[in-house]
Amino acid sequence: MSIEFKNVNYIYNQGTPFEYQGLKDISFNLTDGNFIAIIGHTGSGKSTLLQHFDALLKPTSGEIKLAGFDITSKTTNKNLKSLRKKVGIVFQFPENQLFAETILKDAMFGPLNFGMDADLAEKNAKKWLKRLGIKEELYEQSPFDLSGGQMRRVAIAGVLAYEPEILCLDEPAAGLDPVGRKEIMSIFKEYQKNGHTVILITHEMDDVAQYADDVLVLQQAKLIKHTTVADLFENPEWLAEHYLNQPHAARFAQTLKQNGFKLKQTPLTIEQLAKSISKKMREYNE
């Protein structure tokens, strides 16, 4: 199975003077079980695209196939629950969606809605709260007494608690401290490795390089590239033209090259960079 978008258009406020085309003729095929990054300039339509995975927005025209569902403009709101059970979305600033009296109850909201029995819901909620680093003594406290970063983690645990097949993330790490960012990104990577699809919107090219397999690049509501991570970062001129960057490691290698020290392959992560430099140094010494 795979995730398939066929000529998907989406128009905001259709038929009013505020009409705006949010997606233009988007087509792609994603392999299940991959880690996919969606990147693009601000306002390019990334969040609009993401809401289609859950039928929160339905295409004005075109067709979407995923998790055994068919979504078109005619899809009714009935039966969407079983789709939403399989596709989880963590929105931009998910801490703004917390509402329950206690942290644990908030994390159990999703599982209970999707028909898990109370014991299992509690077990799952606890498991993911713990995985996201929320201490057990906090479970019975109000989520509104937490720090912003902790609230974010509770909100993410609330989505992971029903273990969706496809996990969609809209800039989940924006505004977190560097250690926290790394922590939650590796949780998502692990989640993907355990047999789920992860779709990540991000502005951090380092995260794209480190975690993603494939990349979708959006610009002004259009899909302008769908390729592998290695291929995307091969061409710094193309990236610059589209307001994008290489990851730090690749930029470092680029600067080395300009100074006459050329590496064989563009390194994408710090580890790759370190490896290729030490390899080259060893070659020099021999």
């Binding site: 969606q97 909201f109 809605n113 029903y162």
Partner: protein
């Protein structure tokens, strides 16, 4: 939700946009009074012509105005139909129990219909071409005399502009929160009354908390930029009368004179 046109501003640059909000508000209220001068076919036609002239002068799509009238059309038709069946007088064309269709009934129901539609169209002309902020500034000026009765007009106007400014923000916020809870399996259209009422809690709590956060942030930002309660404030945009407002008033004067002449025919 976003399809509601009443009370929405659409950017444009026709002559009506250049008029002063104070003049437009006064004219809009005056228009409602003027409508009651109309009492026969000629005067109602004049009012209709005048309104359509104003609608065309905005240079906005006619469809937009139709969207403004549409949500109310059933209410208007209902009122007209009541008039039609219950007004007596003149020649009777049809009769059944207390219901009857009479000459006056037909006339009255058409007049009522015109009155409603023209008032809606004219207020739509005002709100489509004037930003909520301008309207609140205009209202502040118009209500200035109340200051002498110790009514804090300045503060009321500020509260009004802030409220108007944040209506779209809170609407966006509501949609976002609803989507986030929908994604977590919340269902707002399912089940009985109690279940539905319960389903609102996951929307209301975050919405309430987010609005408080916005309000506190705004208050801090305002105070740190020097806002003090009760102090005299200068204005960034100063309202100024221009030739367009005289054109506006001249047209209304003309309409008034014409109505006064033809209402006795």
């Amino acid at each position: 939700m976003s399809k509601i046109i009443i009370g929405r501003y659409i950017p444009g640059n026709s002559i009506i946009y250049k008029m002063d909000p104070r003049g437009k508000i006064i004219a809009a209220f005056f228009f409602i009074a003027l409508i009651f001068l109309a009492n026969n076919w000629i005067t109602y036609s004049l009012i209709t012509l005048f309104t359509f002239a104003a609608v065309f002068a905005t240079k906005l799509k006619i469809k937009t105005f139709w969207q403004g009238v549409r949500p109310l059309i059933w209410l208007i038709l209902f009122t007209s139909v009541l008039q039609l069946f219950f007004t007596t007088g003149g020649k009777v064309y049809w009769h059944w129990g207390i219901l009857n269709i009479s000459h006056y009934g037909i006339e009255n129901s058409i007049y009522i219909f015109i009155r409603f539609v023209m008032i809606i169209l004219m207020s739509t002309v005002l709100t489509l071409t004037t930003t909520p902020l301008e309207i609140s500034e205009g209202m502040e000026w118009i209500l200035t005399p109340l200051k002498y009765l110790k009514v804090p007009i300045g503060q009321i106007a500020l509260v009004m502009s802030i409220a108007l400014r944040f209506v779209p923000t809170l609407m966006d916020e509501t949609v976002k929160i609803m989507n986030a809870q929908r994604a977590r399996g919340a269902d707002f259209n399912d089940g009985g009354l109690v279940k539905r009422a319960k389903a609102i809690i996951p929307i209301l709590v975050p919405l309430f908390i987010n609005s408080l956060t916005i309000a506190i942030d705004l208050a801090v930002a305002m105070e740190s930029r020097g806002y003090r309660e009760g102090e005299k404030r200068s204005r960034y945009r100063v309202l100024k009368w221009s030739q367009y407002d005289w054109i506006n008033f001249a047209f209304f004067a003309l309409l008034t004179v014409l109505l006064l002449i033809f209402r006795n025919h």
